[in-house]
Amino acid sequence: MLEQFFQAVFKADFIFAVIRITAPILFAALAAVIAEKAGVVNIGLEGIMMITALFGFLFAYWTQSWIIGVLGAVLTGGLLGLVMGFFSLKLKTDIILAGIAINMLGAGGTIFLLNMFTGLRGNTGNLVTPNILIPTVKIPLIDRIPVVGEMLSGHAVLTYCAFIFVFLVWLLLYKTPIGLNIRAVGENPDAASSVGVSVLGIKYVAIALSGALAGLGGAFMSMYYSQGWNSGMVAGRGFIALAAQAMGRGEPVGAMLSSLLFGLAQALRTKASGLQGVSSFLVSLIPYVATVLGLVIYSISLKRKARKHAIKAVKP
């Protein structure tokens, strides 16, 4: 049995699967990174992904163009971010509660909206046409390399975007004035406002960007990953992304590494659940247990570091 398992795992298509599964988590984790850097906990990622997955699909269906679908999802995500921002920053709703409200909209509200727009219940079923699915690309040179080509080439456009966005988010946060402002607002809002940075404005920008990135994740889910929208399709990815952000120490590259870890865990689950005598339910636990363990390890390392600093401070 183990042999079967390892045969399944040590194959190019396994790595391919890991990358594919990682992409939506990565988008959401980057969304969490940007929000967290500005001092905003975006627990609404789960709901934003559900809603943007629906609207991305609907926009694509109405126009029969996947590009417009993706743009629609990004726009919807940004708007939802602004709604959260309006309630938490202007009306002082606790940001966590605002996020939970968005998640409620994502869970039941989407079913309602789908019914309202299309008359369908629970999933988009037969609305799917090839036009509205995100196309895959073969990378010219890498495509020819035997094993690596199989792993890295032939992914959806958005999959590559997810990994490019790691760099872009890093660039935004560390090499642009707005990124500097975002970090300043997150670390010390009083200091930031004392030098003339609009704290509220920056927070709005950060949460809108966060929503837009989660929108990319949502579009990826309905327009490529599950090839259609159905209720419960995001299945905790938004929450896992929050954990990935925490485990990745709030940095884009760290978030990418922990997202890959979750992608790996979830890919293992798909492989292992196909085997005889393995409980698919216990295998389903892997990503969630991995998340908790990852968070525990991260917290311990953080604590150690803090203690070392404390000792250093006492004995210079």
Partner: protein, 377 residues
């Protein structure tokens, strides 16, 4: 004067938030329904009054169904009150309801006690077990500083899959088509309070007792005080010598116990076998309930009634009209956002405060004037 005005403001603001949320719901009904007015009637007054050939009938069975639906949400609402009061955003109430229901259900099938104590043992075992489950996020938070929010969210899924594993591989009754356990022993079933099929069980009374107990705990004991103080100002609680870590753990364990109790009462009171195969959603409703109750246990049953009423209304609306029952989530989200908004109608509040202050000043002035006049004479 000031107090009365502020109480008035509080009520007016709450009412405004609910009216706004219902208005949002109404907008969606008008957008999606061909018979919006009938739909609205079912949503708003359908749960109590039904209409037959022009005559209006009060429907007691519906009222009992609403009371029955309140049982789990009162418990999760109380759980959230306690945990959120200590600023612990623990969201594992959802998983604990499932775990409590499962543990209570399994004991209800396999434990042999030939008296009414059977049900009591099942419920208490579920309660204790869920309290222990909550130790995980609580201790990770206190000992390691890991966010209880993230760990509790993950815990929900972990509980779900562990329960599904044991349900499928150990306890499933293979003679039935769907995955469920064998029937509960009659001694484990929570008896119904009223005749009929409303499922309003003794659990409702237990829920009200729990409300009284938690209200007493939160406002009349030093542990409750410590929990609330940590929520208001954790540093103050720490520097005034409270055991903050222990109290944070306590709040979450109580939250787990309440959720587990609610889950087991619901399963043993409503069904004949254990059959939940997904997270039941009561944990999230509990958050709405706690927000409506402003984290005050006393108002939890009222808030739970309101949500159960709306839920029943949405169900009626979806059976009799063309509006899906998921409408409830949109209304709940809107209530959530407006009700929790501290600055909602703050302009109005500001005016009230200014008015009260001006009046106070004038009265003071008049007072001083009359006294001053007296001394001169």
């Amino acid at each position: 004067m000031r107090d009365r005005r502020m109480v008035f403001f509080g009520i007016a603001r709450g009412a405004m938030a609910i009216i706004l949320a219902l208005a949002v719901g109404a907008v969606f009904i008008f957008l999606s329904s061909k018979t919006p007015f009938t739909a609205l009637r079912y949503l708003l007054i359908g749960p109590l009054l039904s209409f037959h050939d022009g005559s209006v009938i009060f429907n007691a069975q519906y009222l009992f169904q609403i009371f029955a639906a309140m049982i789990p949400t009162i418990f999760t609402g109380l759980a959230v009150c306690v945990m959120f009061s200590a600023n612990q955003f623990n969201l594992a109430g959802e998983g604990c309801v499932l775990a409590g229901g499962f543990i209570g259900g399994i004991l209800g099938v396999y434990l042999q006690i030939n008296s009414g104590w059977h049900a009591v043992v099942c419920v208490l075992a579920a309660t204790v077990a869920c309290g222990l489950i909550m130790l995980i996020p609580a201790l990770l938070k206190v000992k390691l500083g890991a966010s209880e929010m993230v760990t509790s969210l993950m815990l929900n899924f972990i509980i779900l899959y562990v329960v599904l594993h044991y349900l499928n591989f150990n306890f499933a009754d293979r003679t039935k088509g769907a995955t469920m356990t064998k029937a509960f022993r009659s001694t484990a079933v929570i008896p119904s309070l009223v005749p009929g099929n409303s499922k309003m069980s003794v659990g409702f009374i237990v829920a009200l007792l729990a409300t009284a107990l938690i209200a007493f705990f939160m406002y009349r004991t030093r542990w409750g005080y410590a929990i609330r103080m940590i929520g208001i100002n954790e540093s103050f609680a720490l520097y005034s010598g409270m055991n903050v870590g222990w109290t944070i753990v306590l709040a979450q364990v109580i939250g787990g116990m309440l959720s587990g109790m609610g889950g087991s009462l619901e399963v043993l009171g409503r069904y004949q076998t254990y059959l939940w195969r997904e997270l039941p959603g009561y944990g999230w409703v509990g958050i709405t309930v706690a927000i409506l109750a402003k984290n005050n246990p006393v108002y939890v049953p009222l808030a739970a009634f309101f949500i159960a009423y709306l839920n029943k209304g949405c169900l009626l609306m979806s059976t009799h009209c063309d509006v899906p029952s998921e409408m409830i989530d949109i209304i709940q989200a809107a209530i959530f956002l407006f009700f929790a908004a501290e600055q909602f109608l703050s302009g109005f509040r500001q005016k009230l405060v200014v008015k009260t202050a001006t009046e106070d000043l004038m009265r003071l002035e008049a007072d001083r004037g009359s006294r001053g006049g007296g001394s001169h004479a």
